[in-house]
């Protein structure tokens, strides 16, 4: 089994493009003993007109945190937004920690929050965009078979910022910013060989690690 897996794993590693990543962090009031049985919710900002934070990126950061520290419960974004409809829609979502106070004046909302035991609310704003595409590729099909020939390259750039709100103190307690960029290539001689730079995945790991350091007592 290992004899088949090892070349595949090596091949996968070799066929990944390079990514450059930077992470900036600024946090206050870190919970030194972890968050106990409280929960964390990670939400994407979606009120900009020209982009929206990808739901799969939010899921990736949540999985990154909960898989590395099993004691941290990350509430699913869709489940949270649906259970508090209509207060976390792009139109109505709180933009500042002070808005939470106004939201909790509604008894059903306050009760649902108590049920969910949400201690930290993390808002992630940003997007991964593709830029600088170049090259061309031609594919054809005939009686003898099919194939492609050419070369394509493109770069991806990620820029995300996570803002941490302390739900109990109704205050912002941290900000983590990550940028990542990488170049992907796709040479094709009969078969296209994608060499993809995992830009969004690197940004996810970068922001996830910093959030984990803030939330977890083990890191």
């Amino acid at each position: 089994m290992i004899k088949y897996c090892l070349p595949f794993a090596l091949g996968t590693l070799l066929l990944q493009g390079c990514v450059t990543s930077t992470v900036d962090e600024m946090v206050f009031n870190e919970p030194v003993e972890g968050i106990g049985d409280a929960t964390v919710v990670i939400l994407g900002r979606r009120h900009a007109s020209d982009y929206e934070t990808e739901p799969d990126f939010i899921e990736c950061v949540g999985d990154h945190i909960s898989s590395r520290d099993k004691t941290i419960t990350v509430v699913d974004e869709i489940e949270f937004v649906n259970s508090l409809y209509p207060w976390f829609e792009p139109r109505t979502a709180p933009l500042h920690p002070a808005d939470i106070e106004r939201l909790l004046e509604q008894e059903p909302v306050a009760e649902r929050m108590r049920e969910l035991k949400t201690e930290y609310m993390i808002w992630i704003d940003g997007v991964t965009v593709r830029s600088d595409s170049a090259g061309s590729m031609t594919c054809g099909i005939g009686p003898g078979g099919a194939g492609c020939f050419g070369f394509g390259t493109w770069s991806n750039d990620s820029n995300y910022e996570a803002v941490i709100w302390d739900f109990t103190d109704r205050a912002e307690v941290g900000r983590v910013n990550t940028t990542a960029s990488g170049q992907s290539y796709m040479p094709a001689v009969v078969v296209p060989i994608p060499i993809i730079a995992p830009v969004q995945g690197t940004a996810c790991d970068g922001i996830g690690d910093q959030l984990l350091e803030f939330l977890s007592s083990e890191y």
Partner: protein, 247 residues
Amino acid sequence: MRSMITAPDNRLFSAVLVLTAMLLAGCGPTHVKVEGNFPAPLMEPVPLKLGVWYPEEFATHEFFDEAKSRRESSWVVNTGDAQVAMWDTLLSGMFSELTHMKGRPSPSQMNQVVDAVLIPSVDELQYAIPQHTNVKVYEIWMRYRFELVTVRGKPIAEWTMSAYGKTPTAFLRSDQAAVNLAAVMALRDAGANFATNFTRVPEVAAWMQSKPARRGAAAATAPGAKASPVNESAGGQAGAERQEDSK
């Protein structure tokens, strides 16, 4: 012997028929029936017995390529069922009692007894797809018109409200799925806008203030709804205008 000859002919005929049907199906417009799950609103119910009447054109609402007629359009998006599903869920959770009226309120129409009847309609709908804008986002913008009337059809309030939904293009997501998601987002936004601004509509606020039993309800729907109705309405309109600007 004869049957041995005719059997392959029947199969051939069936195959040609199926192929023709498939080819003809490919020529017709692509229908997208908007489907989604709409959550119930989390709020103190407004103490009103509300009736609702969905006009035929609202319950069967659809839109298609505006540059062509319905027959020529290569796609048709049916939003009627999703509209009714969303508004039923929203209004049921938002008001203490919801009743579907038997007919459009009028002096001659026999109907159930309720405090007021809401009649929604889609006034205008605009959409943008990546082929139009070169931006990798599907967008749907709707303007609703609401009439709040008595059981006998006497007007209480009439106002418009905008809703906006967008979804970015995504790898392995079909155009149909993207349009469906944008429509669901627009419907959710409509629900959020209505739920947070209903009691801020000046005529509605004035009507509710005029009823002593309903006096406390005006503050129940939205946080920050304790300010004067006129100011709140202005805030709501500003929100609507902001959405329109983003178009």
